[in-house]
Amino acid sequence: MNRINKKLSEDKKLLSIYFTAGYPSLNDTVSIIEDLEKNGVDMIEIGLPFSDPLADGPTIQESSTKALKNGMTTEVLFDQLKDIRKTVNIPLIIMGYFNPMFQYGVEAFCKKCQEIGIDGLIIPDLPVDVYHEEYQAIFEKYGLINVFLITPQTSDERIRYIDSISNGFIYMVSSASTTGAQSGFGDEQTQYFERIDKMKLNNPQIIGFGISNNETFTQATQYAKGAIIGSAFVKHVTQEGTASIDTFIKSILN
């Protein structure tokens, strides 16, 4: 069983953390992952930086630019992660834009992920239908779960379609926005969370975008299996460095 599915079957609300690989320093990747696991994070999204991250706000854009300047590449990331499964047990997901994966070769990329022990991928600009027609068989061959996004504007019909293609969880984008744009949830979000909850989808949902503290984490996980924090974590690392990851995680979980 894929580590993601196993984790999703646990009777608890999940905290997933996104960070940009190669940021703040090129070789922080492994220690950040180990620290996150040690402090009780359930799942990690390792951001493969891209020059033109369309769905991201300034915080993740800037961390991506810096990571690329630091020398991060697909090869370097795979090399940093080659022994990660000797020390880390929680599910690991690579999140990145499609072009770097496409240039590496989608099959070669998936194969490498399997060798390392990556459990899934999130690729915001790979559309569901293209995945379904061209790449699903490859992902499945290498035991990778592909995670799709839905937003408040996604129709019920399309959500059902995405649910039928998914085999892990659905990434619920909390509002129509790029990453890091929102703070806190209003009535509109609550209604959307309730609407999706009532659909009784096959795949559990994890909410992302706009989760930054204990309050928003608690709110989101009332309706969903878990929540993802990205920009707020990257911001914390920017301001406080990587030494105080424990303070940040504790502030979310307590």
Binding site: A55, T74, N99, F102, Y104, P127, F148, R158, A176
Partner: protein, 394 residues
């Protein structure tokens, strides 16, 4: 025979598609489902045609450039898109898209711009229709195209500097896309080039197709035949080229020449010649040819011309290149600047530096004396005066 038009899934051969984050799906899908239907409505067509005639000043002349033709011993016609209102071909598309946006009930317009021509054309139609207009423009382009920034502001638009990445057209496009993600309901994004997720490349091409539609009957009047031997246009993203080629794509006896910006030279590291330096990949929502590192990071292009300073080409052009339907040429900054000055002296026309790239091919490539060559003069050079002044120390 190859099909050079878009297929029902939004592809030109292997290029095109809609590689967009889910956040953009409803907007792009709404457009995809409606654009052909709306464009086919008699009311829409009548309004579009009337504005092109009375507001833009179409048809734009097809002018036989006698002295230029004598110099190169071939028959050169210039399609005078520079005489359009706002000074370039860009307004053909913005008129079409603003009418589309109104039909779709949108109240807020966003756009990206490189040289500023598309930004001005968008600000113009927004003023005409009384809609809010936000234009994203790279910080570097804002500095090198000051008159167009002032024009946009006078026309009531808000110009927002794109400060990320290379701070040019590619980054302005990223910022516009991010704005659209954050404003999914009331906003229409007027893309200025034949790029972006399907249906944009096709929609922009259809609005620009008026260029080749007119060339056909204008050439018939002057030469007794609709088809020239060659049609020539410069290519950044490729909207004026798409319009210039459109009605000739399947006329096999018409040669298609696409002129890219070589910058300081194709091998100099400072270039925007995508067909030579690029390979297949994903940029701004479509699969096409683009300049990138071997790792798939999009690289910073360079050209003296802000309008050609883009690391990709539209998917239609990638297909024309791959199939060999179009002949691609790369023209350096120096070659373009000299061709621009040459046109001033020979014909009394100051061309945009973008268009000067297309004019520069006559120094590089021989044509027969009987050949009829139609060059799209996509824009006028007023916006480039400062560049010309500095380059030629005028």
């Amino acid at each position: 025979m190859n099909n050079y038009n878009v297929n029902e899934k939004g592809y030109y051969g292997e290029f095109g598609g809609a590689f967009i984050p889910e956040m953009l799906y409803p907007n792009v899908e709404e457009l995809r489902q409606n654009y052909l239907k709306v464009m086919a409505e008699p009311d829409f067509k009548a309004e579009f045609d009337k504005l092109l005639k009375d507001y833009v000043g179409r048809p734009s002349p097809l002018y036989f450039a006698k002295r230029l033709s004598e110099k190169y011993n071939t028959k050169i016609y210039l399609k005078r898109e520079d005489l359009n209102h706002t000074g370039a071909h860009k307004i053909n598309n913005t008129i079409g898209q603003i009418l589309m946006a109104k039909r779709l009930g949108k109240t807020r317009i966003i756009a990206e711009t490189g040289a500023g021509q598309h930004g001005v054309a968008t600000a113009t139609v927004c003023a005409l229709m009384g809609l809010e207009c936000i234009v994203y423009m790279g910080e570097i382009d804002i500095a090198r195209q000051a008159p167009n920034v002032a024009r946009m502001k006078m026309l009531g638009a808000t110009v927002v500097p794109a400060k990320s990445g290379s701070r040019t057209l590619k980054d302005a496009t990223n910022e516009a896309i991010r704005d659209w993600i954050n404003n999914p309901v009331d906003t229409h994004y007027i893309i200025g080039s034949a790029i972006g997720p399907h249906p944009y490349p096709d929609m922009v091409t259809r609005f620009q197709a008026v260029i080749s539609e007119e060339i056909k009957w204008q050439l018939k009047e002057q030469e007794g035949r609709e088809n020239p031997d060659y049609v020539v246009a410069c290519i950044g993203g490729g909207s004026n080229a798409a319009g210039t080629y459109y009605h000739y794509l399947h006329e096999e006896e018409v040669g298609i020449i696409a002129v890219e910006a070589a910058g300081l030279g194709v091998d100099s590291g400072e270039s925007a010649a995508t067909s030579v330096l690029g390979k297949e990949g994903i940029i701004h929502g479509c699969k096409t040819m683009l300049m990138q590192t071997k790792d798939g990071q999009i690289t910073e292009p360079y050209s003296i011309s802000a309008g050609l300073d883009y690391p990709g080409v539209g998917p239609m052009h990638a297909h024309l290149c791959k199939t060999g339907r179009a002949e691609f040429m790369a023209i350096t900054d120096d070659q373009a600047m000299n061709a621009g000055l040459d046109l001033c002296k020979l014909e009394g026309i100051i061309p945009a530096i973008e268009s000067s790239h297309a004019l520069a091919i006559f120094e590089q490539r021989k044509f027969k004396p009987t050949d009829v060559v139609v060059v799209s003069l996509s824009g006028r050079g007023d916006k480039d005066l400062q560049n010309y002044i500095e380059y030629f120390k005028i």
